[in-house]
Each structure stands twice: as structure tokens, then as C-alpha cells.
């Protein structure tokens, strides 16, 4: 599991790669929050790129909602992009797209 952040203009892209399950969720949370903290100034939107995720279960739902709540405190909307069939199926089922739209 690896998390990288890149700022392009006013958009903060956070890409998650590898396996996101309960075992590595705590590390994923910590790393994502650390990267986000350094970049919240001048950020207008945050986009989570899930294109390189090789495995994700319902842990991903909790992970994304947790990050959404943190960004919401700064008034920054959050989006997800590059979903594969399974991640899309899981997120669709959870109804998460109403607060974190897919782009």
C-alpha cells in the first residue's frame, strides 16, 4: 500500500496504490492525512485516484468517508476517480457517491 500526493493548480490529487484492507488502513489513514495537511492551503478540491488499487474491501468506504470529513472541515470538496469494476461496485453499494462524486 502506497499513498502519493500531487498538487496540480488548485487541485490536490491523492493516489492510493496496492491493497487497502483493514490491516493496512491505519497506515493509509495516517499517510493520507499527513500529505493532505501539508497541502490544504490554496486547495480548492481533493481528488482521490484509485486507479492503482489492486485490492479494496469495505475498509475503503470507511477510509474515504474519514478523509471526506477532514477535508469538509476546511470546506474542501472531495472526489474519486479511476475506479475499477470492484471498487466501483463497493462504493456504489455504499451510496458514497452522493457525498464524494465520481469524476
Amino acid at each position: 500500500m502506497r499513498i502519493c500526493a500531487e498538487k496540480r493548480g488548485e487541485t490536490l490529487y491523492i493516489s492510493v496504490s496496492g491493497e487497502l484492507d483493514e490491516h493496512n488502513a491505519a497506515r493509509a489513514r495516517m499517510e493520507a492525512d499527513k500529505l493532505a495537511e501539508n497541502c490544504v492551503g490554496k486547495t480548492v478540491r481533493a481528488v482521490f485516484d484509485l486507479g492503482s488499487i489492486s485490492f479494496m474491501d469495505s475498509t475503503g468506504i470507511g477510509f474515504l468517508i474519514g478523509r471526506y470529513k477532514r477535508f469538509a472541515r476546511f470546506g474542501i470538496p472531495m472526489y474519486v476517480t479511476n475506479l475499477n469494476t470492484t471498487t466501483d461496485k463497493i462504493l456504489q453499494m455504499s451510496g458514497i457517491y452522493t457525498i464524494i462524486p465520481k469524476i
Partner: protein
Amino acid sequence: MKNYIKLELAALGENEGFARNAVAAFALSLNPSLNELSDIKTAVSEAVTNCIVHAYSHEKGKKIVIECEVERFDEGGELHIRITDFGVGIEDVERATMPFFTTLPEGERSGMGFTIMQTFMDDFCVESKMGEGTTVRMRKRIGCLPTQEELKACEKERVNA
């Protein structure tokens, strides 16, 4: 003859990946599609995670037993999975399997584990006894031709879209 495996593992987070990959590897003999394989891995991961996170209140002797069976037909086959823990048990199974129900919301847990198992597999049931443990049984048809009902549902979905 039906093929069968039984795995016993410590209920530790680091075994989550091994457990789902081992079951997926066993299912390969049924020649599943990538999506079917992915569904199996996700459902197993949910069940095993439940055993690790919820089943045991004590540190000693935490274990999970995974049993799988494959049955081959002329057209495709079936995978049966049974995942058992010997932990605290679930007080109200019906409530626990409701979407978004979780006893541990503070850990950013979604409460969607059982819902995912139910949706990703063809059959799913939970048996639990307080103080004795919990067994999740799941069944998935692999590589079978769709039934008439499934074809009708697909057609309906296509028309609606």
C-alpha cells in the same frame, strides 16, 4: 470427486491478504473470470476481517478456520466457503447483517462487510452462538451460463439504461 481444503490460521490482521489469496488460488480450478475472482477475494476478506476485529476479546488462541469445496459441473462449477471463528459470537445476527450497522464506528468502520458478502456471493448465511463463535457460509457459482431470470434482469437493466 469434490475437491476440498481446510486452513487454520491465527486471527491476525497480517493474515487477511493470505486468506483471501489462498481461497482465490483454490478457486482457480473452476476457471473463474477476473470479476468472479475479485468478488471471492472481497467476500473472504470481509469475513476474515470480522473474525479478526470482532470475534476475540482475549489475545490467546485466536484462530480462524477456512474450509472450501469446489464442485465441477458440465458447465462451470460452484465454490463453497465456510469461515469459522471460536470467539464471542454475535448477539443479534439479523441486526449485524443490516447495511451500515457496526459496533465499532470510531474506527472508521463502514458496517458494510456482511452486505458486501451477501451481494458478491450467490448464497450467504451466518450462524452464531454467544460464547462459542460464528460461522459464515457462502456459495458462488463460477463460469455458469446465466439463468433465464438473470438474462431477463440484464435485459431490463439495459432497457432502463
